[in-house]
C-alpha cells in the first residue's frame, strides 16, 4: 500500500479517530496544567539546592514525556519511528558532558587569573 501523499489518495486513517478518544487529551491537558503549576511553585516558594534541581527536572521530564507520548502520538507509532526520534537526541548528553568539563576548567582558570589581577591591582587592601 502506497502512503506517499500524491494528492489523489483518500484519507485512509479514519480508524485513528476511533483509537484516540477525546478523554485522554483532556486528562493530559489537565495534568500539564497541574505539572506547570507545580514547577512554578518550586520558584514561588523558593525551594533551593538539590531539591530544587530534582523537582525542576522531574516536572520537566514528566511534561515533556506527556507531550511527546500523547499530544505528538508517539505511543501509537511503530518502534521504527520511535527509536529514530528518541535515540539520536541522546547524543546531546555527550555535548552536555563535554560542556560541563570545559566550563569547570574555564571557571578554574578565570579564578586563577582574574582574581590574581584583582589582588595585584589592590595591594593596599586592609585584609593583607
Amino acid at each position: 500500500m502506497d502512503h506517499t501523499a500524491d494528492g489523489h489518495e483518500p484519507v485512509v486513517r479514519e480508524e485513528e479517530a476511533i483509537q484516540h478518544p477525546l478523554g485522554i487529551y483532556f486528562k493530559i491537558w489537565i495534568l500539564l496544567f497541574v505539572l506547570s503549576a507545580m514547577s512554578y511553585a518550586v520558584d514561588y516558594y523558593q525551594v533551593q539546592g538539590y531539591m530544587r534541581w530534582f523537582l525542576i527536572l522531574f516536572f520537566m521530564v514528566l511534561k515533556a514525556g506527556l507531550i511527546i507520548a500523547v499530544f505528538m502520538h508517539m505511543v501509537w507509532e511503530r518502534l521504527a519511528m520511535v527509536y529514530f526520534i528518541l535515540v539520536p537526541p541522546a547524543l546531546l548528553l555527550t555535548l552536555v558532558a563535554i560542556g560541563s568539563l570545559e566550563a569547570d576548567w574555564t571557571f578554574f582558570q578565570r579564578g586563577v587569573y582574574f582574581l590574581k589581577e584583582l589582588v595585584i591591582a589592590a595591594p593596599a587592601s586592609p585584609h593583607h
Binding site: 484519507v11 479514519e14 477525546l22 499530544f71 505528538m72 518502534l79 526520534i85 560542556g99 566550563a103 571557571f107
Partner: protein
C-alpha cells in the same frame, strides 16, 4: 508484476522489536503506514532538537564558567499588579497560554480526523490566537528588559553579561518558531474553513491535495514548540 509482490509490503506488520528490525531492513521505506509528510516533519523536528540542544548546552557552559553572579530570573521576570511584585509571574502566564494552545491543537487534530470541519476550524483559530498572545507577551517581556532593565546581548546591570546573550538568542529563536507556527495556523484555519482539506484542493506551493493528515503534521510542529518551551522554562527561568 504479480499482485503478490506488490502486496508484500503491506503484509501483516510485526509489532514490537521484531517489527523494528523488519521495518528498518525492508525495501524502499522504513516508516510503514506513516504519511510521507509526517515522516519528513519528524526528521525536521529531530534536527531542530539538535539546534535547541546546542543552544541549551552552550548556555550551561557559559553559565557554569562565569565568575559574575547570574541575574535572578525570579526577580527579573517579576511583575506587580498594583501590589507587591509576584516572582516570575509573566513567564508562568506565558507557559499556561502555550499549554492551553497545545490542548486546543491536539483536539483540532482529533476533530480533523473526524472530518468535523467547523470544530477543527475554531480549534485551529483558537490555537493561532493563543500563539499570537504568547508572541505578544514575549514582545512585552523583551521591551521591558531592553528599555527598563537595560539588558543588552553584551551586558546588563544585574550581573553576568552572558545572561543577555543567552536570553535573546534562546527566547528569540523560540519566539521565531512560535511566530512561524502562528502564520501556518492561520493559513490552515483558512484552508479548513474553505473546505480545501475536504475537497483535496492542491496547495499553491506543494501542489499536493489537501488532506486532514496535514493538521496532524502541523500539530507535531506546534507541540514541538511547546516542548522546547518546557525545557527553556526549566533550564533558563527556573535554574
Amino acid at each position: 508484476m504479480s499482485t503478490e509482490t506488490m502486496a508484500s509490503d503491506s503484509l501483516e506488520l510485526k509489532p514490537g522489536i521484531a517489527g523494528f528490525f523488519d521495518d528498518w531492513s525492508s525495501d524502499q521505506r522504513a516508516f510503514k503506514g506513516v504519511p510521507w509528510g509526517k515522516a519528513m516533519m519528524w526528521i525536521f523536528l529531530v534536527s531542530d532538537t539538535f539546534i535547541f540542544g546546542c543552544f541549551l548546552a552552550s548556555y550551561m557552559t557559559v553559565r557554569m564558567s562565569t565568575l559574575e553572579p547570574w541575574p535572578s530570573s525570579s526577580e527579573v521576570f517579576a511583575l506587580s499588579f498594583g501590589g507587591a511584585p509576584i516572582p516570575l509571574i509573566l513567564i508562568a502566564i506565558m507557559t499556561f497560554v502555550l499549554i492551553t494552545s497545545s490542548g486546543t491543537m491536539a483536539l483540532a487534530v482529533n476533530y480533523g480526523y473526524r472530518k468535523n470541519k467547523w470544530v477543527t476550524f475554531w480549534l485551529l483559530f483558537a490555537t493561532a490566537i493563543l500563539g499570537a498572545t504568547f508572541v505578544g507577551m514575549q514582545v512585552f517581556e523583551w521591551s521591558k528588559l531592553i528599555f527598563e532593565e537595560g539588558v543588552r546581548p553584551w551586558g546588563n546591570p544585574m550581573g553576568a553579561a552572558q545572561f543577555g546573550s543567552v536570553f535573546f538568542m534562546v527566547t528569540g529563536f523560540h519566539g521565531f518558531h512560535v511566530s512561524i507556527g502562528v502564520i501556518f495556523l492561520f493559513i490552515f484555519s483558512y484552508k479548513v474553513a474553505r473546505g480545501h482539506l475536504d475537497d483535496q484542493t492542491p496547495g499553491w506551493f506543494t501542489k499536493r491535495g489537501g488532506n486532514y493528515e496535514e493538521i496532524e503534521i502541523l500539530g507535531l510542529y506546534w507541540h514541538f514548540v511547546d516542548l522546547v518551551w518546557v525545557f527553556i522554562f526549566a533550564f533558563f527561568y527556573l535554574w
